[in-house]
């Protein structure tokens, strides 16, 4: 008897992505470049985060034609973004057969109070988090993979670093707590007691955790691996750089060999200009994507 959509099948798919780079693409040509460069998956969307930031307005699920074109162009898994809480966008993506859905703060939230109940889908979900409480709530709803939130579309790594350190520090703390201290920690974090017991037993999150938001160079990707990410999402960093093919290849290799600094030096030579960056303090707090979701 074949069982589909089980936790093992959904979380297992993310395990296969570990050590890899998932790249944002907006058409079939970019998807093929990403695959040839060694991406472990692509994220199909209509505009990369830096364009969403520039253009403003409401950012929604991509035109299904784009997603379908990307699915037909590559043999690696295809992920796609749905708005936070947008049940129908998620069901549409599931019906189209995408391999993973990102319930993403990069798009304009459809619901400011409730996230999707991801347990009820066969397709697995990845969600963003800034701390262990947010991670716990998303996993509680059924997310099979996490990514620590950076500030998307900025080419500035500082927020991704902050949140990955935050999550990891909170995991380490939970591991050191005695059982009778866990309930209070659960209340403080807004996480379930059972979840914290599992984190304590495993010594890590129970699902794969990638870093995302602001990764613009091979060294940025290696930094996130150094800090304990299982892999990286690169959004605008590749196709907004001067030489996407070379950036894509270099970021893949720097992610694999993240502690080989001579190699990262070689990979980073003469790559051309990285995407233009944004200083976070210049972004009004209402425009910070990381603050979407809770």
């Amino acid at each position: 008897m074949n069982q589909r959509g089980t936790n093992r099948v959904k979380r297992g798919m993310a395990e296969m992505q570990k050590g890899g780079v998932i790249m944002d693409v907006v058409n079939a040509e970019q998807a093929r470049i990403a695959e040839a460069a060694g991406a472990t998956a692509v994220m199909a969307l209509e505009r990369v985060p830096s364009d969403i930031r520039r253009d403003g307005g409401v950012a929604r699920m991509a035109d299904p034609l784009i997603t379908e074109e990307v699915m037909n162009a590559v043999s690696i898994p295809v992920m796609a973004k749905a708005r936070i809480g947008h049940i129908v966008e998620a069901r549409v993506l599931e019906a189209m057969g995408v391999d993973y859905i990102d319930e993403s703060e990069v798009l304009t939230p459809a619901d400011e109070e409730f996230h999707l109940l991801k347990d009820t889908y066969t397709v697995p979900f990845v969600c963003g988090c800034r701390n262990l409480g947010e991670a716990a709530r998303r996993i509680g709803e059924g997310a099979s993979m996490l990514r620590t939130k950076g500030e998307p579309g900025t080419g500035n790594i500082v927020e991704a670093v902050r949140h990955l350190r935050q999550v990891n520090a909170e995991v380490r703390k939970v591991v050191t707590l005695s059982d009778d201290e866990l309930m209070t920690e659960a209340r403080n974090l807004g996480a379930s007691y059972e979840f914290l017991k599992e984190v304590k037993r495993l010594g890590r999150l129970p699902v794969v955790n990638f870093a995302a938001g602001g990764i613009a160079t091979p060294a940025d990707a290696a930094l996130m691996m150094e800090l304990g990410a299982d892999g990286v999402f690169v959004g605008s960093g590749i196709f907004k750089s001067e030489n996407p093919e070379r950036f894509a290849r270099a970021i893949v290799e720097a992610t694999t060999h993240y502690q080989d600094y001579k190699l990262i030096a070689e990979l980073s030579k003469d790559l051309g200009t990285a995407m233009k960056g944004l200083e976070i303090s210049t972004i009004a707090s209402g425009d910070r994507m990381q603050e979407r979701g809770w």
Partner: protein
């Protein structure tokens, strides 16, 4: 290099063998056996080419040391991949088809009856390949719904599913037993 490396390491260590991570050709020196884990075969192939691992891997295979590929690893071992002109390592006399059970929505788990193992093995299939046909001398160890999902050819073992995602270590034990029957006094297994 990429994929479910941590899980294979845990399984190898649970079985009492030593695990070594392989990213560079030099990492293969002194190893007795090699596991090619699940992950993305296109990514792994690109890194194999980029870091000149193809020739050392062929030499490793030619030396008769056991190699075990799970999912993407099976695709790397196969002599032919349906729809592609060239194989990757091409050392195991089987033809495989990628993603042949469908996309992620069709990924599944199911109990399998595997030759040589007592009792069912709970197997996790993720965008899995299957073995379309086998050459002479290849032993079919398991079929599921009419598709070959596990086979052995001399020192090469391959399966479509991910034994590393479960806490059942019998397949890793089976592989380590292949190593021990291959030559006495060899105890370390390796990870790719």
């Amino acid at each position: 290099m990429q994929g479910a490396v941590r899980e294979h390491v845990q399984s190898i260590e649970t079985c009492g063998a030593e695990a070594v991570l392989v990213k560079w050709p030099r990492d293969l020196e002194g190893l007795d056996a090699l596991i090619l884990p699940g992950g993305e075969s296109t990514t792994m192939r690109r890194l194999i080419d980029r870091y000149s691992l193809m020739e050392p891997l062929h030499e490793f295979a030619a030396s008769g040391k056991p190699m075990f590929g799970t999912c993407a690893g099976l695709i790397l071992l196969a002599g032919k991949v349906v729809g592609y002109d060239e194989s990757h390592l091409g050392v195991m006399d089987v033809i495989v088809e990628r993603n042949s059970f469908g996309r992620q929505a069709d990924s599944f788990e199911a109990p399998l009856s595997i030759k040589g193992l007592d009792g069912p093995f709970e197997a996790v299939f993720i965008r899995a390949p299957h073995i379309v046909s086998t050459g002479p001398g290849v032993e079919i160890l398991c079929e599921h719904e009419g598709k070959i999902v596990m086979a052995r050819s001399g020192p090469f073992l391959g399966c479509s599913f991910h034994p590393e995602l479960t806490s059942d270590h019998r397949i890793t034990e089976y592989f380590i037993a292949m190593l021990n029957s291959n030559a006495e006094n060899q105890t370390s297994a390796a990870m790719f």
